[in-house]
Homo-oligomer: 158 residues x 2
C-alpha cells in the first residue's frame, strides 16, 4: 500500500505568514528552526503543522496547471474565494469540560474568534469551536467515548 493511512504534515493556507505564526506563538507553541519568512513549521504531538501563503499553497498544489474541466475537481477550482466557509476542522481533545473551556479562552486571548461556546453535544460529550486569524476552525472537545493519550492522540476503535 503506497497511499498509506497516515498524515505527516498539514498545511494551512494563510493571508500573512507572520500574523498567523504570531497567533500560534502566543499560545506558547515554539516554531521549528526549519521555518523561513515564507513558511512556519510547528512540531505538534504527532504531526507537523505548516503555515504557508494561501496563494503559494494553491500554486504549489498545481491548480494553475490542473485540468479544471475534470469534474472531480468541481469543488477545487483555481480561484480562491476569500469569503468561502472552511471545508475542514482540526480537533484537539481534552480530559474534561474545564480543560475545553480553558483552551477556548486561551485561543480567544491569543486573537482567535469564538464560534461556539463550550456546550454539551448530541453525542454525549462537550465541545466548543474557535477560529484562528485565517478562519481555520479548531474544535476543543471532551469525548468520553474515545480514550485519550497524554499527548492528545485519541484511540479510535478499530
Amino acid at each position: 500500500m503506497s497511499f498509506y493511512p497516515g498524515i505527516s504534515l498539514i498545511t494551512l493556507g494563510v493571508a500573512d505568514v507572520a500574523r498567523a505564526r504570531h497567533f500560534y506563538e502566543r499560545l506558547g507553541w515554539r516554531c521549528s528552526p526549519a521555518s523561513t519568512p515564507d513558511v512556519a513549521f510547528f512540531k505538534l504531538n504527532n504531526i507537523a503543522l505548516a503555515l504557508f501563503g494561501r496563494q503559494d499553497l494553491l500554486s504549489d498544489a498545481g491548480f494553475a496547471d490542473a485540468d479544471l474541466s475534470d469534474t472531480r475537481l468541481a469543488v477545487a477550482q483555481v480561484e480562491p474565494q476569500p469569503g468561502a466557509a472552511p471545508a475542514f476542522s482540526l480537533s484537539q481533545n481534552h480530559g474534561g469540560t474545564g480543560a475545553v473551556d480553558r483552551a477556548l479562552q486561551e485561543a480567544v486571548a491569543a486573537g482567535g474568534a469564538l464560534l461556539k461556546t463550550g456546550q454539551a453535544t448530541s453525542w454525549g460529550g462537550y465541545h466548543g469551536m474557535v477560529a484562528d486569524p485565517d478562519g481555520h476552525v479548531w474544535e476543543m472537545a471532551w469525548n468520553p467515548h474515545f480514550p485519550l493519550a497524554p499527548d492528545g492522540t485519541i484511540d479510535l476503535p478499530c
Copy 2:
C-alpha cells in the same frame, strides 16, 4: 497550556459521506466501527480522520450562530462556496521518489484527480499532488531534510 500543540482529529467536509468513504476504502484503509452513515472515522498513523457532511460541519462549527461582523471571521463566512479553492493540504511523506509516484498512481486508481505529477521541488525533494473526490488536496512527498519514521511521522528540527 490548555490549547496544546497537537491535533487529535481532522475532519474533512464532504458532499457525500458514502462516496468519500468509498474512496479511502478503495485505498485499503479500514473504517473504524465508530463510524455511522453520517460520519466515517479512520484511525491513521498518528491522528484520526473523520469524513462528515460539509453542511453538517458548518452547522456543528457554529457558523449559523457566530457573529459574522467580527472581522476575524472575514474568511469564514456562513455560506459555503462550492467553487472555493482549498485552504489547506494534507501531506504524507515517503522514503523515495518511486514511493511518491506509486502513491499518486494509487490515489488516481481509487478515483482521485491528479493535480501535479511527481517532480523535483525547489527545496531539494520530490513531490506530486492529488485531490480526493471532494477536492481535498493530498501532497505525496519525499523530503531528504526531514527524517521519516516508518509510520509516516516526520521529525522536524526543534
